[in-house]
């Protein structure tokens, strides 16, 4: 029977994979994908705690829904920034964007 610790281990591994993507990838969109993985890991934690540690209230699921909504907002704004940056700077690789004024 999977208990609370099983879900926490899965979410920890997913979080560290997302962290690896954010730290080491060169493409901006890949960094945003890593951020989405980290948000998903946090959501799994919230919902797992709601079921196992505090099942009387729905707070964990409410919190997870709010996080999903805000992740969608942040992905929209982040990808709009990537498109705008590509139009002026002609590149999407973050290590080539190193001038303060173009």
């Amino acid at each position: 029977m999977p208990g609370l610790t099983h879900y926490l281990v899965v979410s920890a591994l997913l979080f560290s994979l997302g962290l690896f993507a954010v730290v080491t990838r060169r493409n901006t969109v890949a960094i945003l994908m890593g951020v989405e993985l980290m948000l998903n890991a946090a959501n799994i934690n919230l919902v797992a705690f709601n079921k196992y540690a505090a099942p009387g209230a729905m707070q964990g699921q409410i919190f997870a829904l709010i996080v999903i909504t805000l992740a969608a907002c942040e992905a929209a704004v982040g990808l709009a920034l990537v498109l705008a940056a590509y139009r002026t700077l002609e590149t999407v690789y973050v290590d080539e964007i190193n001038l303060m004024k173009w």
Partner: protein, 164 residues
């Protein structure tokens, strides 16, 4: 080995496997396409945790909308043609060490702490309970999130618009 345990291990394997493909693939379109089984695996985990409404919203928003957004961004920028570029920067070794250390730390904290089980049971029809909760205790968060959605929608349109 109950059915729930087998389902959990299969879903965890699908999620973590596709996350590995997302993070390490050299082809960025493959990374974006591998997000979909990852999100569907997380949906399965939510269903095992009796959170059906959150699972439905996860498929609708993550697998249905955010993946499409990411694919559009890849196709409209250089990632579509510059597939031969290096995908990992020079911090790869340090980054891997940091991520592994974070994983070890979180797993040790999760397994060593004695979590106490709370009282009460989950209501059987979660969408109704979530709706009631949004309009009673959590109404401030609900309205705040609506404002954030409006602002980010306007911001994304203004930022990505052509200036001509």
């Amino acid at each position: 080995m109950t059915g729930e345990a087998i389902a959990f291990y299969i879903l965890a394997a699908v999620t973590l496997g596709s996350a590995v493909v997302v993070v390490t693939s050299g082809n960025i379109v493959h990374s974006a396409a591998a997000l979909v089984p990852g999100f569907l695996g997380v949906t399965g985990l939510y269903i095992l945790l009796n959170a059906e409404f959150v699972a439905g919203i996860q498929v609708l928003i993550y697998a249905g909308a955010i993946t499409v957004l990411i694919l559009f961004a890849i196709m409209l920028t250089e990632g579509g043609t510059g597939l031969g570029g290096r995908q990992r920067n020079e911090q790869a070794l340090v980054g891997a060490t940091v991520a592994a250390a974070m994983a070890v730390l979180l797993i040790i904290v999760a397994t060593r702490t004695g979590w106490t089980a709370g009282g009460g049971t989950l209501p059987p029809y979660t969408p109704g309970a979530i709706g009631q909760s949004f309009l009673r205790q959590n109404i401030l968060v609900f309205e705040g999130t609506s404002i954030v959605l409006l602002v980010s929608l306007m911001g994304a349109i203004m930022t990505a618009r052509r200036e001509d």
